[in-house]
Subunit: 157 residues, 2 copies
DNA sequence: ACGAGAAACGCACCCGAGTTGCATCTCGGG
DNA sequence: CCCGAGATGCAACTCGGGTGCGTTTCTCGT
């Protein structure tokens, strides 16, 4: 979108190096460990909005524990590296927040959940304008709320 | 809102009679049973957006089973008597949909969930206007979506 | 009024996601 | 290289949702 296209060294920018990921962790006051690097690596190479179960599945061959992955996701979210949202499907979903390639959208943005297939789509750039009367909580009128939409996706029309 | 104010027999309209509730059930093809009448009675006298746990607690002295209450809520939702929404708090919430006093809002409307205290407020009359570009699912641009907002309520400011 | 049969109930039990306590291990600063 | 804060692994628990099944009960047709 923005025209600023920095011609990087071409290849090394595609995925962050282990060193870079370690720096990301240490910068957040977190130790660099194997499962943490694996989780970060996954988010950077796959991107998107992932649940704890998805991450755990993708990494289960490495032998990491459920609880470990869980705590890592929470820690990374608390450190601001991941966002942690609960769309209406009873599942926490995590997403890369800032920095590093692989983060499709770095800003907060509304999400859309298909009530049929459960698919999640991100709606950056979509803004919703409040029209109704007052009576709503102040945080609503001040646009300090997160927005979730539910309906049928195009496929499940 | 609409000016049409039918002067009813004054007193009998405050809460629906058992006979009326039975009619509501039978009209939906459902048998009239004690737990069902109790659930309906609860919604009509309390109104609002209630979870399965809340209903079960409120009625537990009557000795009804968890599963019974659960299935009743689902059945009433499928019959269109209740709405069943999953706000982002891992809980199904039910609300009177149409008919009968006690139903504060009969239309679909956005809900607001406080991320701190978990309180839910209904935002009838609040409408949100889509501003962003396309790329969103068709159901979004056609306003065929349910909307949920999350943030801090005035109390938890 | 009554009996048959479908519908609903109660109980037991399973599930998945989230969450925690605790013993053991390991990263990394000194 | 050592030590201790911090992280991991394992087990166990909660909570809400959901289901299978035998028993009870409502409703409808006789
Ligand atoms: Mn997103
Ligand atoms: Mn409402
Ligand atoms: Zn879909
Ligand atoms: Zn609150």
């Amino acid at each position: 979108m923005s025209a600023r296209h920095v011609a990087t060294k071409a290849r090394s920018r595609v995925a962050p190096t282990v060193k870079e990921l370690q720096g990301l962790l240490r910068g957040a006051g977190l130790r660099s460990t194997a499962p943490r690097l694996a989780v970060l690596e996954y988010f950077h190479s796959h991107g998107g909005t992932n649940s704890h179960a998805e991450i755990f599945d993708a990494l289960h061959d490495r032998g990491f524990d459920r609880a470990t992955i869980y705590r890592i996701l929470v820690d990374l979210a608390e450190a601001g590296i991941l966002s942690r949202t609960d769309l209406g499907d009873h599942v926490w979903r995590f997403e890369l927040r800032r920095g590093a390639r692989g983060a499709q959208h770095t800003e907060e943005h509304p999400h859309f959940v298909c009530v049929d297939c459960g698919g999640v789509s991100c709606l950056p750039g979509l803004s919703l304008k409040v029209e109704g009367q007052a009576k709503a909580p102040r945080s609503v009128t001040k646009n300090k709320v997160s927005i979730q939409l539910k309906g049928l996706c195009d496929d499940c029309s």
